[in-house]
């Protein structure tokens, strides 16, 4: 059987994890694991819709700005005295609206998603600063904050609530992508959009739906981020879009569309998270972590390519010598 990249990343993740258990004191403690996974909760959440988008040949660079907008709105509305129970639905609606705008520009106006979402990346981040300016709202009560911080875990496990939610959503995403007609449609759209259209797949509607889901999840990630740090700021999560995409691509999802698995993307996210935690525990400087992320990303696209090239070369040599 041909080795698959997502399996390789999974194996790498396990290897890194086991190395961590063997070499690093305190890595395996419940507190540390809860912290390590909770620390990448928002990136992990946003990576799920991103996986579906990239499989369908699209990309959404505005996710982190939507996170920021959602965080700023949460803070501003809380400051105005709204109840948290009303803030969350409002913020989620804003996320849906943002996703609709992205999707509308891509599907109805017919623009490339990369260009559109670079625009909305600036737009949503800008709106976040308009809403909250350079203020920070920090007086979120413990009643709500406890659902996002790493000191509260689902009883009996090291899973925090955001991580537990991520697991549920990851299972849903995996089922949708790999065992439903809709999932097959995503692969079809990513592989050959025109062919998918002529095969009767509702390309535009499905793409619109994906962008809306991405907006919704990003807005929710904004609420989680706000509660986790107990701080609503307009620049929350700045630059996360790159990290989300890095994680998804690291997991072997093909940027050209049509290939990828949710398992791979999840492994990619966890690998980044575990590596970050291990490097920090071993006092490796932050800048080295940044370099490692970059190298992993380049390796993730270069290695499969090199494997194919080498095996093609071997085939050719075998054919000429025989």
């Amino acid at each position: 059987m041909k080795p698959r990249w997502d399996t390789a990343v999974g194996v790498l993740l396990v290897a890194v994890f086991v190395t961590g258990l063997g070499t690093t004191d305190g890595f395996a403690s419940r507190d540390n694991l809860a912290f390590a996974f909770n620390d990448i909760a928002e990136v992990a959440l946003m990576a799920l819709p991103m996986t579906l988008l990239v499989v369908a040949g699209q990309v959404d660079l505005s996710v982190a700005s939507m996170l920021g907008l959602s965080s700023a709105l949460t803070g501003e509305l809380w400051d105005k005295g709204w109840a948290f129970e009303t803030i969350v639905p409002v913020v989620l609606l804003v996320g849906v609206a943002g996703g609709l705008l992205n999707g509308w520009l891509v599907t109805r106006v017919g623009l490339p998603s990369l260009a559109v979402t670079i625009g909305t990346l600036a737009l949503y981040r800008g709106l976040a600063s308009v809403v909250l300016g350079s203020n920070a709202i920090t007086d979120f009560p413990e009643t709500y904050a406890k659902w996002a911080v790493d000191t509260t875990t689902v009883p009996g496990t090291f899973l925090t609530y955001p991580v537990a939610l991520f697991i549920v959503l990851a299972v849903i995403a995996a089922v949708v992508l790999h065992s439903t007609g809709l999932g097959r449609s995503l692969f079809a759209i990513g592989a050959q959009e025109d062919a998918a259209y002529f095969a009767g797949i509702r390309v535009k509607r499905i793409k619109l739906l994906l962008f809306v889901v991405a907006g919704l999840v990003s807005a929710f990630a904004g609420v989680v981020f706000t509660l986790r740090y107990g701080s609503a700021r307009a620049d929350n999560g700045q630059g996360f879009e790159m990290l989300v995409i890095a994680a998804v691509l690291l997991g072997g999802v093909d940027f050209d569309g049509g290939k990828g698995t949710v398992f791979g993307a999840v492994a990619g996210v966890l690998l980044i998270g575990v590596l970050k935690n291990l490097l920090t525990l071993n006092d490796v400087a932050n800048e080295v972590q940044v370099i490692v992320t970059g190298l992993l990303l380049v390796a993730s696209v270069l290695t499969p390519r090199m494997i194919t090239t080498v095996s093609a070369w071997r085939h050719r040599r075998a054919a000429t010598t025989s």
């Binding site: 625009g119 308009v130 990303l297």
Partner: protein
């Protein structure tokens, strides 16, 4: 379908008018950005006359100079249907390298600029080799390079800062001096811009970049050395970014490791606003430069008008969306019009 009773025009004429229509639309793009720019400047000037005094104009040009350079480099890559996200990191690394090199010494300006170009060219060479010979998606590779270069920069800097006091006066003079009332930096940008525009428009290799962006497959079949051209595009973009890093040092004197952090998306925005399609094959560096000038001018105008600078990002984003939407709609109309012409 309506039947036209017009006599069919002679074939060469149709062709010429079709081409002039295409030309007009593309020129219209640059004219409309220039128009928007003029309106913006006039409006701001009326509201606040100090916007256009000597110092005001100088500031506008100085602010735009570095972004214009980066936009020129980026357009050359985007025209080939690729993208270079590492430019912001390259500027940071090059600025720091140059600062480290000159601090406390009296190296000549030229040496510093060459060092900047060299640092950038090495980065561009690595990205370009990976994209052209490794045949891996440009976005992923240059995103990886963004992290790698940024990490190297941080690692090297270790929080250290280059201060203007350590930078030789000759270098600082390049950033603040002027000739005939025009500051050096914008002049340099315009020179690079004009040179690049000339090569892209006139040279065979320049035209081949457009061919690659329009249809890589067709370009390959037509015998265009795609790998070499794409590599050259990245090399150029890297070298220009490195050069911009050296100019950054000259302009600001103070350099920290995360200079130009996050600029990559601003640069791409400027390029796209300027009419260089993200899917490659169309657009000019003049347009990209105008896009960059428009974005920085919006920032300056908001500051002068005492509008909260918080609005700057939102306006830049909305502008980008408007620009690409209008582009697309005009494009669809034009295709329809051309089809109707050729159907006749």
């Amino acid at each position: 379908m309506t039947v036209t009773v017009e006599k069919p025009a002679p074939a060469p004429d149709t062709e010429r008018s079709a081409r002039s229509l295409v030309d007009a639309v593309f020129r219209a793009r640059e004219i409309s950005i220039a128009g928007a720019l003029v309106l913006l400047v006039l409006f701001t000037w009326v509201a606040e006359p100090r916007f256009l005094n000597d110092q005001g104009i100088k500031d506008l040009l100085l602010n735009a100079a570095i972004l214009v350079l980066l936009a020129v480099g980026q357009s050359v890559v985007v025209i080939t249907r690729n993208i270079d996200l590492s430019v912001g990191s390259v500027v940071g690394l090059s600025a720091f390298a140059c600062g480290k090199f000159v601090s406390g010494t009296d190296h000549g300006v030229l040496t510093v600029l060459l060092l900047g170009v060299a640092v950038g060219a090495v980065c561009g060479l690595v990205s370009g080799s990976l994209v052209s010979f490794g045949k891996v998606p440009a976005l992923v590779v240059t995103l990886g390079m963004l992290y790698i270069i940024q990490g190297l920069d941080y690692w090297w800097a270790q929080g250290e800062q280059i201060n203007a006091a350590d930078v030789p006066q000759s270098v600082l003079d390049l950033g603040s001096g002027s000739v005939l009332g025009l500051p050096y930096l914008p002049l340099i940008s315009v020179l690079v811009l004009a040179g690049t525009a000339y090569v892209l428009r006139t040279y065979r290799s320049g035209r081949e970049l457009y061919a690659i962006g329009s249809s890589p497959e067709a370009a390959r079949l037509a015998g265009v050395p795609i790998r070499r051209r794409v590599l050259a595009a990245y090399l150029f973009s890297g070298a220009v970014s490195g050069f911009a890093g050296a100019l950054w040092l000259a302009r600001f004197g103070t350099v920290v490791a995360d200079n130009a952090h996050g600029w990559e998306l601003t640069v791409v925005s400027a390029v796209v606003v300027g009419g260089v399609a993200i899917v490659g094959g169309t657009g000019t560096v003049w347009g990209a430069a105008l896009g960059a000038l428009l974005l920085t001018t919006i920032g300056s105008a908001l500051a002068v008008l005492k509008v909260d600078s918080f609005w700057a990002d939102a306006i830049a984003g909305a502008l980008l969306l408007a620009a690409i939407s209008v582009d697309r709609i005009v494009n669809v109309r034009m295709t329809r019009a051309l089809r109707k012409r050729s159907a006749r």
